[in-house]
């Protein structure tokens, strides 16, 4: 058996929700502990490093703002991959994953918008400007809320998953627009300074806490995501058990 088909079989083994629950139970405590540890290091680094000579202490907002902005895009990418999984491979956990990721992504986007606004007031002199990056992230936030509303509007989870998967894939158009908005248009928001072809242009003094915080936020996302998926599976089981119980109760009343 070749290596890739083994990997595929491992992946489709996870399609069994019970196996996924067992794995989640084993992984979650470790992941949560690791997240806490990296967050402790990251926060300590964020406050121990020096402030910027120009921005002063407000530069520390960056350590929350930039990772949450990254995650708001990564979360949508995870949702788009899950949507592909729903539509193409009919992976039973993919719709659970997409559904569980939407509120988390909305939270991170909201966090990025709020911290950016708090940072913009002292630096740009305004809470909000309608430039390309800010507007496209705001549109992303609206799309998350629309997807959550759509998920809640349908009572049949499998059908709502397939339908919202289509919408997630259409909305994925926005992600490259957000990423490159600072390069295509001349905006107030600064261009990318960490992930560049010619290396980061940001000083190592700020880069170190930023990287650690980015890792911490990513770990936090995966912890929350796995926990939310677990909750979603349990919620569906409870719902189907309740339906079963209601059916049985009706039958018992009829029989005597």
């Amino acid at each position: 058996m070749s290596e890739s088909s083994l990997a595929i079989r491992k992946f489709s083994d996870l399609a069994n929700p019970t196996r996924f629950l067992a794995l989640a139970d084993r992984v979650l405590p470790w992941l949560a502990a690791l997240t806490l540890l990296v967050f402790a290091v990251g926060l300590w680094l964020s406050f121990a490093t020096e402030g910027d000579y120009q921005q002063g202490e407000t530069v520390r907002i960056m350590y929350v703002h930039v990772p949450s902005a990254w995650l708001s895009m990564m979360c949508y990418t995870v949702m788009a991959i899950s949507a592909l999984g729903t539509l193409v491979w009919r992976h039973p956990l993919a719709d659970v994953s997409a559904r569980a990721a939407a509120p988390i992504g909305a939270c991170f986007t909201f966090l990025a918008l709020v911290t950016g606004s708090l940072w913009g007031k002292p630096m740009w002199g305004t809470w909000w400007v309608w430039d390309a990056r800010l507007t496209s992230v705001f549109v992303l936030f609206l799309m998350y809320l629309g997807l959550i509303a759509l998920n809640r509007a349908m009572d049949d989870p499998s059908r709502s998953a397939r339908v919202s998967a289509v919408l997630i894939l259409v909305g994925f158009v926005n992600i490259p627009i957000i990423k490159f908005s600072v390069e295509w248009w001349n905006t107030l928001h600064q261009p990318a300074s960490v992930i560049r072809l010619d290396g980061p242009t940001i000083d190592p003094e700020f880069l170190r806490p930023l990287i650690v915080m980015a890792i911490a936020f990513t770990l936090l996302f995966f912890t929350l995501h796995i926990a939310a998926m677990r909750n979603e599976i349990w919620r569906r089981r409870v719902a189907s058990l309740r339906r079963q119980a209601a059916r049985n109760a009706g039958r018992e009343q009829l029989s005597p």
Partner: protein, 219 residues
Amino acid sequence: MIALFFRDLKLSVRAGGGAMIGVLFFMTVVAVIPFGVGPDLNLLARIGPAILWIGALLASLLGLDRLFQAEREDGSLDLIMMQETPLLLAVLVKCAAHWTATGLPLVIASPFLGLFMNMDEGAIGATMVTLLAGTPAITFIGAVGAAVAVALPRGGLLVSILVLPLAIPVLIFGVSAVYAAIEDPAPFLPPFMILIAITLFFGVIGPVAAAAALRHSAD
């Protein structure tokens, strides 16, 4: 397919179709603006193109939830899905018919509303041309939303919420093309070309996604 086009057109123009309600809504939205910002003719002339575009955007969202819902209720949607021609093509034709019934009247009505807004001839012409190029994109995007919400009992408001974020680029480039036509230094063609590109792009993505959503929501 041509029969489907004319059937949809007749259904939406005749009694109970509600194609004219869109134009009426467009006129009402534009007429409300001077009450809000005051009857300052210079100000109205400056914001006129943007007002017309926003009005047209809202008006074309208004009728979208009926795009597939009426067909689903009387069962003809299942017939459309079962026939030989691909569903993709049927969706495209339905979009074209919907645009002819609701989008085209908006384009035709826009010059008269432009006069109300004290816009000069160049601005009126530019608004009309950009609306002609841009409103099909809104219909195509809306078809995805309408197909997604077709199974919902009360999908109308949800369609607007889902569609509006995606329609924002159309609005941005439509309005910027109009302002480029009025103000001299900025060239008209680049934003207009991008607007046409958006329309063509969603002309492909929209029917594909709408057909996929329809097929999945039909159990």
